[in-house]
């Protein structure tokens, strides 16, 4: 079971690859849209890549609620548990 920091780091790699955001900027308290300037299409890609990477399912109705990096990490941890 990966730690919270490991999930955050892996998610940061995905956000970096998809949206070009520096990995060190992808911290738990950051908002994808307001702080990291991730648009809605990039979020679709990030969610898809996260599903592949972590082996979890993130339905569209759940994805809409993932406002911050911390929201996404917490969801992934719950879904993978």
């Amino acid at each position: 079971m990966p730690t919270t920091e490991e999930v955050r780091a892996d998610l940061a790699e995905i956000v970096n690859e998809v949206a070009g955001v520096p990995v060190n900027d992808v911290q738990l308290d950051k908002s994808f849209t307001d702080d990291l300037d991730v648009d809605s299409l990039s979020m679709v890609e990030i969610i898809y890549a996260a599903e592949e990477k972590f082996g979890v399912s993130i339905p569209d109705e759940e994805a809409k609620n993932l406002k911050t990096v911390g929201d996404a990490v917490a969801y992934i941890e719950r879904a993978a548990a």
Partner: protein
């Protein structure tokens, strides 16, 4: 070649108003305050269509590669339907194509030309020489060896992918999947 359609996604792109009111509208004599037709428009759910287009197309593309016995890393050129640059980028990432693969980005010049987009994009790549700039292949060898990949979708969310082997007749397996019918496969000459 791999192709199919996904009727479950019909609500994602739809006409929300019937033509009846517009067809019944008599514009003469024109009165600005009344009688303007309620013109039908198309409505699209952008994010779900982006998701479908990017990942369903990537999936059919991967199936087409499997059917042709080719790995993604063996490709030299990738020519998807030119609907949207973001979809092209997402497909490129989903297919895990090597960065050296030449990607058709003709949408920047031509826009979305619908069914014509793939042949136009391929022609543009060949005409510009962009696909010929690999240092390890001469023009002749490129044309003989290059595995061109093309992949297209459609407003009705039909999809198809085909591996092209220029100047080379090669048999490959075609998998066709239609809603309501069992999956079937047949042989097709490319």
């Amino acid at each position: 070649m791999v192709w199919g359609s996904d009727g479950d996604q019909a609500p994602l792109i739809q006409q929300t108003q019937p033509w009846d009111a517009a067809l019944a509208w008599d514009p003469w004599p024109y009165r600005a305050t009344e009688g303007d037709a309620n013109w039908p428009t198309l409505k699209m759910e952008g994010n779900p269509v982006f998701k479908w287009a990017s990942y369903t197309m990537a999936k059919t593309a991967a199936e087409a590669l499997d059917a042709a016995g080719v790995r993604a890393e063996d490709l030299d050129v990738f020519a998807p339907h030119q609907a949207n640059m973001r979809i092209t980028d997402a497909m490129f990432r989903a297919l895990k194509l090597p960065s050296r693969v030449v990607v058709a980005r003709d949408i920047a010049r031509q826009g979305n030309t619908s069914a014509a987009s793939i042949p136009l994009a391929i022609e543009a790549l060949l005409e510009s020489g962009e696909a010929h700039q690999r240092p390890d292949l001469s023009d002749h060898r490129l044309r003989r060896r290059t595995g061109l990949r093309r992949s297209g979708d459609h407003p009705a969310l039909k999809s198809g992918s085909k591996r092209i082997h220029p100047n080379h007749h090669q048999r490959s397996t075609v998998h066709a999947h239609h809603r309501g019918s069992p999956r079937r496969s047949c042989r097709d000459r490319q």
